[in-house]
């Protein structure tokens, strides 16, 4: 609180007792300057703009200051307002202009609008606290302070091939009473589970949307269960720069920024990166029937893709589509990501429905999308991981063809489907399986295996347990007559739909989970697991739990005990991956010996060594990675041999002979009971029979040659 007034910061105007002057056009948003706050906002079509100022939580504004015409530069309105209590200030804008939907304009000066560049939003400070529905300004822009002490923290810059990603919902992770944490469902609570995450062997958490969203959006009573349907997942952004206050135990004090930064800092301290799932494809304003919160009322035509009639293109499946390749919107996205990378030390971003980001203003896919190029070459984001969900709801599917500029990785949906089908026992999958375990060179020939984010389950679709417990989705609780959610789950219930007491079926389901985790962890590329899959969480066959704030989305920590065998296995299979650099290559295999070890970097086998059966009826594949070729021959590792059998009976697999007196040791055999299904590093037993191995029906075996 400076007391001197600098000569270049003095008021020139006064209105309603508020002193102000012409502001700085950049940066957009509200920025603290000596003695005051600089407000700057863009609108290409507004004819008038008014700054609206509130005391925190007050129903009515204490001042409304119209921007004098001379304060507008181009299409930017800027003003410095002096002597505001920035701790208690909430602000918004009224924009005046035409309301002509057919021309794309939806101005309405009766509505107070959030600043697209606000760094915090008030109004939803505690999760599901009943809002005041009569509030004339429900999502209130606030300022944040740059006084967080990061000490020596900085993004970890872990090589992407070394990551094991853990997709997590902030609230779902600790909300269940069994989590036994203080402040469940918050950023703070995640901190108390860091030891667990480390123990599990993951080194990157991918947080489902934490941008401010409204959990009350489209909330209604569930006609089936009588419970409340809410926006739980949060794929509906209210503001791109603000962390969700309702995810912070201190949100009611307005301290969500500090709480999140503290979480990031603690995770970094423990060697765990933080990736954000970001949603730039649409906003919470919905279609023409939706609420006007911010963008629609500020500059509808700039921020949204509109049809010639002025309606909203709906490539996101949620009502509207952000006009990401408009230069102004593009800059906002860039500003936003730079802010998260610089101010929150975020290590990477996963872009929801990223194919939309490559569409032009009429929705046509661009060959050289400027936004994607800008992100790829941005100096501030240079070390951030950029991951695309390379499809959208409008049918654009770009897995393998996403405009990557050598920087982008992709959620590999083909990997997910191929592995699911193989594990289910489908025929004709061996060729695709071979692609999967190599990081899919057919798709990513020029990009290397690290372009492939490998996953078998994620928030969207069945959990890993449900994949082997349900043939069909069971989404009745969503209140949409089971019509929502995907139908192509490639799942198999192992004989009974849902929960069963049949010990054989339960054992088979656990084995299938271990098979899935094993294949995931020996595949080249970047593995990602869904939070809770390591303990066999179930969503009771619901494959689209976007709307449930209950046990369907809350991780049941009691499963740590119930499914201890799965957790024990998951812990060790991640360690196995970490212990063997031969599993984490930056470049594709060459299928030849280029280091003179006598063996190619990768070789394929089957029930006969050196003779893989790629025929349509085959359900067997084995492969060997030569340890001398680890990391392109720069590191010496053990050789790794993996035998996968999705046939229902046990089969002998002939083993390739190892050179130089080396022998095969057993690391993993999913057909064995816990304790013998996976061995700690360095404690693998030597095989008595070095010539062949009996691989059980629907089982995976991993050997190391040393």
């Amino acid at each position: 609180m400076a007391t001197d007034i600098r000569i270049d910061y003095y008021p020139t105007h006064e209105q309603q007792g508020i002193k102000f002057r012409r502001g700085h056009v950049l940066p957009f948003g509200a920025t603290m300057v000596p003695n005051g706050i600089n407000f700057s906002i863009y609108s290409s079509e507004a004819i008038d703009c008014t700054l609206v100022l509130f005391e925190r939580g007050e129903a009515q504004p204490f001042a409304e200051i119209r921007f004098p015409e001379e304060f507008r530069t181009g299409n930017v309105y800027s003003m410095i307002v002096f002597d505001l209590d920035y701790e208690r200030l909430e602000y918004g804008y009224r924009m005046d202009g035409p309301f002509k939907p057919e021309e794309g304009h939806r101005f309405d000066k009766s509505i107070i609008l959030s600043d697209p560049y606000a760094k915090a939003i008030g109004g939803r400070d505690s999760w599901l606290a009943t809002p005041n529905w009569d509030n004339i300004y429900p999502y209130r822009s606030r300022l944040v302070f740059e006084d967080f002490d990061w000490e020596t923290d900085h993004p970890l810059e872990t090589p992407i091939e070394d990551l094991v990603i853990y997709e997590m919902h902030v609230r779902g992770f600790t909300q269940h009473p069994s989590s036994k944490v203080k402040n469940p469902g918050t950023f703070a609570a995640i901190r108390s589970k860091i030891a667990y995450l480390k123990e599990l062997g993951i080194n990157c958490v991918e947080l489902m949307p934490i941008y401010e969203f409204d959990e009350w959006e489209n909330s209604k009573e569930n006609p089936v269960t009588g419970g409340l349907i809410v926006n739980f997942w949060g794929y509906s952004t209210v503001n791109f720069f603000s962390p969700k206050a309702g995810y912070a135990a201190t949100g009611k004090f307005g301290m969500q920024v500090d709480e999140l930064k503290t979480l990031v800092k603690e995770l970094h301290k423990n060697g765990i990166e933080v990736m954000l799932d970001v949603v730039f494809n649409h906003t919470a304003e919905g279609d023409h029937r939706g609420h006007t919160i911010s963008f629609r009322g500020i500059d509808n035509k700039t921020y949204y893709m509109l049809t010639p009639e002025g309606y909203y293109f709906n490539f996101s499946g949620t009502g509207n589509t952000l006009n990401c390749n408009n230069p102004v919107v593009r800059n906002m996205v860039l500003d936003c990501l730079r802010y998260w990378a610089a101010d929150y030390h975020i290590d990477g971003f996963r872009f929801d429905l990223a194919a939309i980001l490559g569409r032009d203003q009429n929705g046509a896919p661009l060959s050289n999308p400027p936004l994607l190029e800008s992100l790829a070459y941005d100096p501030i984001l240079a070390k951030c991981k950029l991951v695309a969900e390379a499809w959208d709801a409008g049918g654009l599917y770009q897995v393998g063809s996403f405009p990557a500029y050598g920087r982008w990785a992709e959620w590999n949906g083909k990997y997910r489907d191929s592995i699911r089908k193989f594990l289910k026992g489908d025929e004709g999958l061996i060729g695709e399986l071979a692609q999967c375990i190599q990081g899919w060179p057919d798709l990513y020939h020029y990009r290397g295996p690290t372009a492939s984010i490998n996953f078998i389950s994620c928030h969207d679709g069945f959990t890993l347990y449900d994949l082997f417990a349900y043939n069909e989705k069971h989404n009745e609780a969503n209140g949409e007559n089971n019509n929502d959610g995907g139908n192509d789950n490639h799942s198999w219930n192992c004989g009974v739909e849902g929960e069963t007491d049949d010990a054989f079926i339960n054992q088979l389901r656990h084995k299938q989970i271990k098979n899935a985790l094993s294949i995931l962890m020996v595949s080249q590329g970047v593995p990602m697991i869904l939070s809770g899959d390591e303990v066999g969480v179930t969503k009771s066959g619901n494959n689209n739990t976007y709307c449930h704030d209950n046990e369907l989305n809350w991780m049941d920590w009691g499963l740590l005990e119930k499914n201890a065998d799965i957790y024990y296995f998951a812990q060790r299979i991640t360690r196995f991956r970490r212990a063997h650099p031969v599993l984490r290559s930056r470049t594709h295999f060459q299928h030849r010996d280029y280091v003179g070890s006598g063996y190619p970097d990768i070789s394929f086998h089957g029930t006969q060594a050196w003779h893989a059966d790629f025929s349509a009826s085959s359900r067997c594949l084995a492969f060997m990675l030569d340890g001398a070729h680890a990391k392109s021959g720069t590191i010496e590792d053990d050789s790794v041999y993996v035998a996968m059998n999705s046939y229902w009976d046990a089969l002998y697999y002939e083993l390739p002979i190892l050179p130089n007196g080396r022998s095969w040791y057993l690391a993993v055999n999913t057909d064995m009971p816990t304790g013998q299904d996976i061995y700690d590093i360095g404690k693998e037993p030597k095989l008595d029979d070095q010539g062949r191995f009996l691989v059980g029906g629907r089982a995976t075996v991993i050997l190391i040659g040393k």
Partner: protein, 106 residues
């Protein structure tokens, strides 16, 4: 309850006793007190919070401000804070910047 603050500086130790509720309005009083202290040579700031019932984010920011204003070498001791205040310090990571004690001298 209205916010009150008393301060004593002795032997490079500033002791501030806080009563009532520290919100964004009273934080200014607190900050003014810190600014006065900052002009003196001190190495420890002792904040007696036994009778402080509430501290808003504005109060927390004054703690950060104290470090910034007086320097990173300043030791901040918080004496007998109530549970709600400890909770807020922990959630926001500020417990690393201060020492929470039952009495001072420790």
């Amino acid at each position: 309850m209205a916010f009150q603050i008393e301060s004593v500086v002795e032997n490079q130790i500033a002791k501030l006793t806080l009563h009532g509720e520290l919100d964004s309005l009273s934080a200014r009083v607190f900050q003014t007190e810190i600014e006065k202290i900052a002009n003196q040579s001190i190495d420890s700031l002792v904040l007696d919070m036994e009778n402080l019932n509430f501290m808003s984010s504005a109060g927390l920011r004054v703690l950060i401000y104290s470090k910034q204003k007086i320097g990173p070498k300043l030791s901040i001791y918080i004496v007998k804070p109530q549970e709600l205040i400890v909770d807020t310090l922990v959630k926001t990571g500020l417990q690393h910047s201060v020492t929470i004690v039952d009495q001072y001298p420790v």
